[in-house]
């Protein structure tokens, strides 16, 4: 039992905005009161936040592990974690090891993370890595938009059967939601092609288009009542002028819930690399109007990182642009991944625009409940740099200082110089915790109301916002103090959440022969059994609405 005494509490989900009050914890939950025997944490002069929730990150699984193997030279220079009484050894850097991932997230006060892209075929691998990611709670989204069985069904207009198959796959993978990456594009990449137009027929098919896949998956997610809407990495990522594709995607999604991933990468204007510019204003305008949508920023920060994505064709292009290392791994019947180490440089005009766009979207999108703070870790920047973004959002003068380094020819491509908005602490609590928790449909996360999971970050009040958010004074996870004054105390294992959508069991009779023909693993071995998912908690398929 713990009493957090006298801190300034930010709990936007419950309308609490910087109120000095106590927060009480018992048995891993927030409770109304605890008795005098409880441990007291004196939070005078400190802020009390619900623990951070990362709605889109890549922390484990075949693609990220592939990336790890590609960059030993980065790991050599990265900060190591020395083995100690409470810590397993590891390496942080751009693709942290599993134990390091848990420690660093917790060290920042973030307590829940959504692994955004899992192929069903290697889902067992993902769950093994998540098992070894301590402290934080985890969910994952399973890749569906280039699944060949689903594509074949949509080609033949078999909507309902497609729904049964998707539901089966979600449970087989022990996933929490559906992910769509470059719908049709990754399927095209299996032939060395892409699919950039939403009404283009997907290579290898006669009828089905990305538009059809997008609307079908959105419909399926709604009909299955998944707590988290379909999670979409739009077509045409990274390309100048791709804002039009994004807006078209939003139109296709009208009337349905959807979450647009790393929106920054999909908000460019211009016709080519020379005329590339920010289209954040246009995107924000459409996004603000379409209240059925949520998104995450996918912001970019200057520095060294590695890009890891299922968007194979985009990564091949990036390899041709950078001429350095490249890795690609296609997964039968499902998806693929591409890995390219990358450096975002201030002097690179395109990178400067990317940096601006992420911030512009965060500033121009009016409802903080609908945009989450992410960098598409590790693609835009590594997750342990989130506090730098918080600083940029809260301090307009600091932003202005950063903008001074760019020449006029760069500044003319962005609107950031004109934006004066500054995020309040309450809004930060929304974009880092309350909002993503709501978007994920995790009703017990992201807030400090009675019955919520006791996942709490306590920060020393400071003017240096980046410092403050990078070094919480205390972090509590499931009611246990895991970090105290920068020192890791305990290391529990966290839980994994999955959903079991309703499906007709007879779909297995349909799938079995297809698996036999097209996969290379026996059907019985394919699903992830429950005992392989550590601390599994199955959540109800109950979309709660707003």
């Amino acid at each position: 039992m713990i009493r957090i005494r006298n801190g300034k509490v930010y709990d936007p989900a419950n309308g609490v905005n910087g109120v000095i009050r106590d927060v009480c914890i018992a048995d891993g939950k927030i409770v109304a009161e605890v008795d005098v025997a409880a441990r007291t944490l004196d939070a005078t002069g400190m802020f009390v936040f619900p623990g951070g929730v990362d709605v889109h990150t890549h922390i484990g699984g075949a693609a990220l592990n592939f990336a790890r193997g590609l960059i030993p030279e980065q790991h050599r220079k990265a900060t190591p974690i020395f083995h100690s009484q409470y810590r397993r050894a590891g390496i942080i850097g751009t693709t942290p090891t599993t134990f390091a991932t848990g420690y660093v997230y917790a060290g920042m006060g973030w307590t829940t993370a959504n692994e955004a892209a899992v192929p069903v075929l290697s889902a067992k691998h993902t769950h093994e890595e998540l098992h070894d990611t301590p402290i934080i709670d985890k969910t994952c989204c399973v890749l569906m938009a280039n699944n060949e069985i689903v594509l074949d069904l949509l080609e033949n207009d078999e909507q309902d059967r497609a729904k049964q198959v998707v539901a089966w796959y979600v449970w087989a993978a022990k996933a929490y939601g559906i992910k769509a990456v470059n719908p049709g594009g990754v399927a095209g990449w299996k032939w060395g092609k892409d699919c950039k137009g939403l009404s283009d027929v997907i290579p290898g098919y006669k009828k089905v288009t990305p538009a059809k896949m997008i609307s079908s998956l959105a419909q399926i997610a709604d009909e299955l009542n998944l707590p988290h809407p379909v999670h979409i990495h739009c077509n045409n990522l990274g390309a100048p002028g791709n804002a039009s594709t994004t807006i078209e995607t939003m139109k296709i999604l009208e009337g349905r819930r959807a979450h647009l991933a790393h929106l920054q990468y999909h908000a460019y204007g211009g016709d080519d690399w020379f005329t590339m510019r920010s289209a954040a204003v246009e995107i924000a305008e459409h996004f603000n109007a379409n209240t059925n949508l949520t998104c995450d920023a996918g912001a970019v920060l200057f520095g060294n990182t590695v890009t890891v994505t299922a968007d194979g064709p985009w990564q091949h292009l990036l390899y041709q642009l950078t001429g350095r290392k490249w890795g690609n791994l296609d997964v039968e019947n499902e998806t693929g991944c591409g890995v390219v180490p990358y450096v975002y440089k201030e002097k690179n005009v395109v990178n400067a625009v990317q940096w601006a766009v992420g911030l512009e979207l965060l500033l121009l999108i009016t409802d903080p409940w609908r945009i989450c703070l992410t960098t598409d870790h590790p693609n835009g920047a590594t997750f342990w740099r989130y506090p730098e973004i918080v600083q940029l959002l809260m301090n307009a003068d600091f932003r202005k200082e950063q903008l001074k380094q760019f020449p006029d020819s760069t500044l003319s491509r962005m609107v950031l110089p004109e934006l004066t908005r500054e995020y309040t602490l309450s809004e930060i609590a929304i974009i880092t915790s309350a909002g993503p928790a709501r978007t994920l449909g995790l009703t017990q996360k992201g807030h400090l109301g009675i019955g919520a999971d006791a996942d709490i970050a306590i920060y020393n009040e400071s003017n240096d916002v980046a410092q403050m958010f990078a070094h919480p004074r205390y972090v509590i996870k499931s009611g246990e103090v895991v970090v105290e004054e920068g020192e890791l105390r305990k290391s529990g294992e966290g839980r994994q959440f999955a959903v079991k959508p309703e499906y007709d069991e007879s779909i297995e009779d349909f799938l079995r022969p297809l698996f036999q023909q097209h996969y290379t693993m026996s059907f019985e071995n394919y699903p992830v059994s429950c005992d392989r998912v550590h601390n599994l908690e199955v959540h109800a398929c109950k979309y709660c609405g707003k």
């Binding site: 590609l70 960059i71 030279e73």
Partner: protein, 269 residues
């Protein structure tokens, strides 16, 4: 001058990056004795393994069979290390200045990713001399490495700039993926010299087995060789006069990349 003598060679390697002028020069005798040295996983004191005479100085002499002592001179920027005996891996890794002299043999990874300064090995060297560490885009980017004896595989791999000269013969993959700089092989090499090179110059005074992706460009007497031999002579590495005279056969490659590197092979009269 500071003299540090190994009491007895160990079987498990010692990691002794403390043995560098940058670390030692400002310290007094007792502080030097207390410097950390790792035996396997155990962090111990320098004087557990070495006898120390004198206080810190820019000039350091190390004595004994240091074959299993690794990381000597790592990151050094100045000063002089003289090793009387053999030395272990990663000698002068990442160094940017100063000089290292070894009377005996060195093992693998001499001058890994160094960018300045000089290393002179009196005996033989191992593999990966002046190399990139695994995954790095570039190896040595400056400085000089001289070897009186022979050297192992992957000499100067991904070298960007700098000068390597070896008197004895060298094994496979000398100048692998070279991007610049100069390698002088006085006794030639085994196989695959200059494999996948992009730029840079390899000069061999003995015949070489070339990859099929290297083409004969021309024969000539390279003027710059005279300048290099004078320079090497000032560093204590002499090259007989006759090899600066006469014809060199110039090959370009590696067409597989495609690269614009050159291999110059001496044609004795």
């Amino acid at each position: 001058m500071l003299t540090v003598t190994l009491k007895e060679p160990t079987t498990v390697p010692l990691e002794a990056e403390a043995l560098s002028p940058d670390v030692l020069a400002p310290l007094k005798h007792d502080a030097i004795c207390a410097l950390p040295v790792l035996l396997g996983k155990r962090s111990m004191r320098l004087d557990d393994f070495f006898t120390v005479e004198g206080d810190g100085s820019e000039e350091i002499e190390l004595r004994g069979d240091l074959t299993k002592v690794k990381w000597i001179g790592q990151h050094m920027t100045r000063g002089k290390i003289r090793i009387v005996g053999n030395v272990g891996m990663h000698l002068g890794a990442y160094m940017t200045g100063g000089s290292i002299e070894v009377t005996g043999n060195a093992t693998d990874w001499v001058g890994g990713e160094m960018s300045g300064g000089s290393i002179h090995i009196g005996g033989n060297a191992g593999g990966q001399l002046g190399c990139a560490y695994r995954g790095s885009m570039s190896g040595m980017s400056g400085g000089t490495i001289l070897v009186e004896g022979s050297a192992g595989i992957e000499l100067g791999m991904r070298m960007k700039r700098g000068l390597i000269a070896v008197r004895g013969s060298v094994r496979d993959f000398a100048g692998l993926q070279m991007k610049g700089g100069t390698i002088v092989l006085m006794s030639g090499a085994e196989l695959r010299t200059g494999a996948w090179m992009q730029r840079g110059t390899i000069i061999s005074m003995k015949p070489l087995r070339l990859l099929p992706t290297f083409a004969h460009a021309c024969d000539y007497n390279p003027m710059f060789l005279g300048i290099y031999t004078k320079h090497l002579a000032t560093l204590g590495f002499s090259i007989p006069h006759e090899v600066t005279q006469g014809t060199y056969r110039r090959y370009t490659g590696d067409a597989a990349v495609p690269g614009k590197g050159e291999l110059l092979v001496w044609q004795p009269r």
